[in-house]
Symmetry: C2
Subunit: 338 residues, 2 copies
């Protein structure tokens, strides 16, 4: 099958473009009429670096690639708009595999109101996805950057931590021991889903933006590293209370089996794709209510996320983690080429 | 060197963002205020598929990746705006190589008025670039799709054909025989530049759009295949006069040495990145003058491109090439996963 034939089959399966898209996939470029302001981000996932085809179905890989790209829009508080996809296909992924991958991506696009507006398909030595997403807002001040946190702000987090890292441990152990998902107990499936099928916190991000978040980031690299980005961009320090961290059910059990510290998974484990935000304490109640209500706005009967205060913004730089015994740990940023 | 350190060094080297970009690289997403309509396209280049590091310097690869992405905006008649770049780095490309690559890309960005507004750096098994470009226009009708060609329109082409394919033949022969660029004579350097350092026809595309082009495409796959796209999208046939095709100097000589037909290189050879457009015959003179004048608008002292009528749009479907002996050749589209 050639590139054009595959693209034609892909286009047949695409849902109708959103209202802002005047011309979708199939020309030299897509045409849209954005209005207001746009937030644009790009993310790449490569087999062997960001995922393993041994663990993930093509549909899961396609869905995750779009989900993690959209997570950056969630962290801006933007409304998802369009996605542009590069698909690099290795020789051992056949046409059905490509279509399954794109079906997984299309499912996330439909769930989030994103238009798959364009793309490029090419050969590649390993399965490669690069997804550019464009989000929208009326005014620049509707979007939340990393740089606005001020001393005195509360530090809040959606959902729970460590699930994706525990899911990855389960996959690695399962792969090494050739048995099915040891160690996660009744939470195994949920932990695996956190790793393999992350959901971008889009409604929650808009709820936090609307409630007055001063800075926001999505947790892709891990709480420690990503909190460090807010601290650096804001010129302030973030103080995190370890005892306040909401750790996902099952993480403690998996950590124990793997000989790891659950706190380490929560702080250093990446890919939870929860949102970390700073917000004035007097907006905290409104923000909590707005985040809880956003599941209803989504209307998919899915989870209602709690918003947890995990610390505060203080004068200084970098991040500090106060351990349960009262000791202050200066956390270092996560810095590796992944 | 880690990802963040490399990104920091890259950001230091980036020119100031354009006026539409409110927040450039470094947050979860870039923020811009597009106004009007946008044209968005994405292109990927992968080592061993689209280029060879044996033949191209990192700077040439970076420059070409942005140039070929911008070529799609040229084909819409859009004003270049922002670019978002995924860079997949193999273990044998060091930090200096990455920065050289990004310097090459930055040079093209500066020459074309494009803002490098965001990106993602990751490990990859082979050097991988995916570039999303966003172009701008005031109104949708200022942009030219592939679908508006009507019987009676003249078919016009900027510049010359076959140069990039001849350049590739020179590189392949040079590589096989271990001698420097055999067979291209005094035109060797120009042919190699056509292959290794293409220039997007941005001003020419806007000139053609302004002069009333009804359909337009850039020649990435080759005249035959790309003309086929206009024919299909427009629901018309394109008749091309082989004797009218402007073949780049040196192509005939290279084809002879390689035992190839120069016409084949002109029709099937890809990557010339010239523009093919349909336009009403009564706008032809104005379009020719506008294209010739666009070099002056560019103001870089560079080449002034001729606009050549190479055929016409007729009722029917597909493309026909009238050979010098009068025979009509029905050309098939280029369809392969590259």
């Amino acid at each position: 099958m050639g590139e054009f034939e595959l693209l034609a089959r892909v286009r047949e399966r695409l849902p109708q473009p959103g209202a802002l898209v005047l011309l979708g996939s199939g020309d030299d470029a897509a045409i849209s009429r954005p209005g207001g302001v746009t937030a644009t981000s790009v993310d790449a996932l490569i087999d062997g670096v960001h995922f393993s085809r041994e663990w993930s179905s093509p549909a899961q890989i396609g869905a995750k690639a779009l989900a993690v790209a959209l997570s950056d829009l969630a962290a801006m508080g933007a409304e998802p708009g369009e996605a542009y996809v590069v698909l690099g296909v290795p020789t051992d992924l056949d046409e059905d595999g490509c279509l399954e991958l794109l079906d997984g991506m299309t499912r996330v696009a439909e769930e989030t109101g994103t238009t798959l507006a364009g793309g490029d398909v090419t050969r590649a030595p390993a399965l490669t996805l690069a997804v550019t997403v464009v989000g929208h807002a009326e005014r620049p001040e509707d979007l939340v950057t990393r740089g606005g946190a001020r001393p005195g702000d509360a530090l809040v987090l959606t959902g729970e931590l460590g699930g994706a890292a525990a899911g990855l441990l389960l996959l690695e152990r399962s792969s090494a021991s050739d048995i099915d998902h040891p160690g996660g107990g009744s939470n195994s499936d949920a932990l695996l889903a956190r790793q393999l099928e992350p959901r971008p916190r889009l409604e929650e991000g808009r709820a936090l933006a609307g409630a007055g978040a001063t800075a926001m980031i999505d947790l892709s690299d891990g709480l420690g590293g990503d909190a460090g980005h807010i601290a650096e961009a804001s010129g302030a320090a973030l103080r995190i209370e370890a005892s306040a961290l909401p750790i996902a059910p099952g993480v403690t059990e998996v950590a124990e089996v793997a000989g790891r510290d659950p706190l380490e998974l929560a702080v250093s484990g990446g890919e939870d794709y929860e949102l970390l935000a700073a917000i004035s304490p007097d907006r905290l109640a409104a923000a909590t209510a707005a985040v809880a209500a956003s599941a209803d706005a989504r209307g998919d009967g899915g989870e209602r996320l709690a918003l947890t205060q995990i610390g505060e913004v203080v004068a200084g730089e970098g991040i500090e983690i106060r351990l349960p015994d009262g000791a202050l740990l200066k956390a270092t940023g996560f810095d590796q080429l992944d």
